[in-house]
């Protein structure tokens, strides 16, 4: 284990360096994302206003605000660039440079990304989440934060990220066969945004559709941790959801290994 960390922690360091090398880019991305949150806020406010009641499928407007911001914050931690990074390296042939090093292919990507995530966590996630809690304090007039719920939420987020990472790696490896993933990446992210319940809460869906979507792996990307954070799940349901997440992580880990070994036999390094 110590040797494992010694080998891969440098990649985390490299990830932190990489993220700080382009500071303006980082800030621009952050501002764009916050703006998206406010746009969504006004959309939902219009929806609530026209519905005429103060709750909508069990969500109050305050719930909706918390949902929007926490979904977005969760996204910072769970979204993975894996498919883009893997796909890009396959497309330009730089994958060769990773294969000549005595390191495991997926671990280098994983630890590199964990570097970026640790930065996002401290610089953006923690202050923003504190903001959400302050907002809740002023609306409800009391402290709503519970360490236990938060710990469960972080556990769920960790599994969401692992799932997201391995799913993206699987997808990225398809670049070995498709050569260029750009179009597929756009298609994938728009489908995922819907299926993961990050645009519209799954609770708003018709019952049958909702239960199908809840069992699909994609709900664990965003919806599961957010619902845990908001305390919408009972203890038993939360446990079930966490188990389901765990199963999907293992499943996609195995699939990614199979695809990788098949892909490496097929590798054609593009460009010289």
């Amino acid at each position: 284990m110590r040797k494992f960390l010694k080998t891969y922690l440098p990649f985390t360091r490299a990830g932190i360096h990489g993220a700080t090398a382009y500071r303006a880019n980082f800030i621009a991305w952050f501002i764009g994302d916050i703006m998206y949150c406010f746009v969504m806020y006004y959309v939902w406010r219009a929806v609530f206003a026209s519905s005429g009641s103060s709750t909508f499928n069990g969500f109050s407007m305050t719930d909706m605000v918390v949902f929007l911001f926490v979904t977005n914050l969760t996204g910072y931690l769970t979204e993975s660039d894996g498919s883009f990074a893997v796909g890009e390296e396959v497309r330009d042939g730089n994958i060769a440079m990773r294969l000549i090093k005595p390191v495991s292919f997926d671990m280098t990507f994983l630890f590199n990304e964990l570097g970026q995530k640790s930065l996002t966590f401290t610089l953006i996630f923690v202050p923003m989440l504190a903001g959400v809690e302050i907002y809740k304090y002023f609306t409800y007039g009391r402290v709503m934060f519970s360490i236990g719920t938060f710990a469960l939420y972080m556990l769920s987020v960790a599994m969401s990220y692992m799932f997201s990472f391995y799913m993206n790696v699987c997808f990225g490896f398809m670049a070995f066969f498709l050569k260029n993933l750009w179009g597929f990446n756009i298609l994938k992210s728009s489908i995922l945004r819907f299926l993961s319940g990050s645009v519209i809460p799954l609770a708003f869906m018709p019952d049958t559709l909702r239960s199908v979507m809840e069992w699909l792996p994609f709900s664990s990307l965003s919806y599961t941790p957010v619902m845990i954070y908001m305390g919408k799940y009972s203890g038993q349901e939360a446990a079930l959801r966490l188990m389901l997440q765990f199963v999907w992580v293992i499943g996609f880990y195995i699939i990614s290994k199979i695809i990788l070994s098949a892909a490496l036999k097929h590798v054609t390094v593009q460009g010289g």
């Binding site: 490299a14 360096h17 590798v267 010289g272």
Partner: protein, 342 residues
Amino acid sequence: MIQVENLQKYFKKTVKQPGFMGSVKSIFHSEKETVKAVDDISFHVDKGEILGFIGPNGAGKSTVIKMLTGILTPTAGNCIINGQNPQKNRKKYVKEIGVVFGQRTQLWWDLPLTETYAVLREIYEVDEAKFTKQMEFLNEVLELQPFINSPVRTLSLGQRMRADIAASLLHNPKVLFLDEPTIGLDVVVKDNIRRAISKINREEGTTVILTTHDLEDISSLCKRIVMIDHGKKVYDGSLYNLKQKYGQMRELNFEAADENSILALDYENAFASNGLGEGDLTFKADGTMVTVAFNTDKISVEQMLNYTLGTVHVKDINVKDADIEEIIRRLYKGDAEHGGSI
């Protein structure tokens, strides 16, 4: 040290029809064609040897290197390097080799060099004392000191290449693969890199396989070369023999003052007494630009220049060494003449 037997690599390539309609068609239906990038190549390299691996563009050099380094899986055939099969247990195998692809970098784009080397030290598990010693050695032969704290993206091509070579040697590998390590570099940097490679080979006994288009690289580093073309091995032997046999061609390029004066040139007649054979002399004129390829065995450079300068007014002139493409052309001719025996 390196045993390569009947190595083959076939690629499936999509055939694109020309034009817009062709592109549209290829989205729905594509024809595949098999390209034999490497077609039955065998050779071996001894420990401590520097082997020059040459051939024209697209001959399959890089594909062979990629199979030897474990990046590509051969369609058929075997290679055993340092007692290991590169395709089996990749992580263990690559620990004992070093690789440089001149057209790519293995350095982290955003990290300073020192950081990159620190990362590599962990990956290859080099202990502190050995690392310091090796760093000192590399610093001395490759002169890394002036830019060792700069991020890789700010380095010039020559600096980056030196840094890349250092990165491939940190763990003191037993075999070093260099795929065009001097591509695009100026003469001084090329020379530095050559000296570094030969020093490392001498002092550490590192086995080196080197591909290049630069005959200077070959002649200053390799005693033995393997030449391939169209995926097949066409020559395996000493550089000296090859040069003796086929490397005597020179190319004279000049720009005449006016087109009419070119008409006065008659090389065939002027050197008729030199006993010219097929391909010993070719003449090509395009406007005022003239190219004459000639065999220095038959016509000395001095004779050639004397005759040319004495006959026409010349604005600009240069004499070029035979390049690898030229040698391969000669090799094929020789092959046909001697009934296929090299």
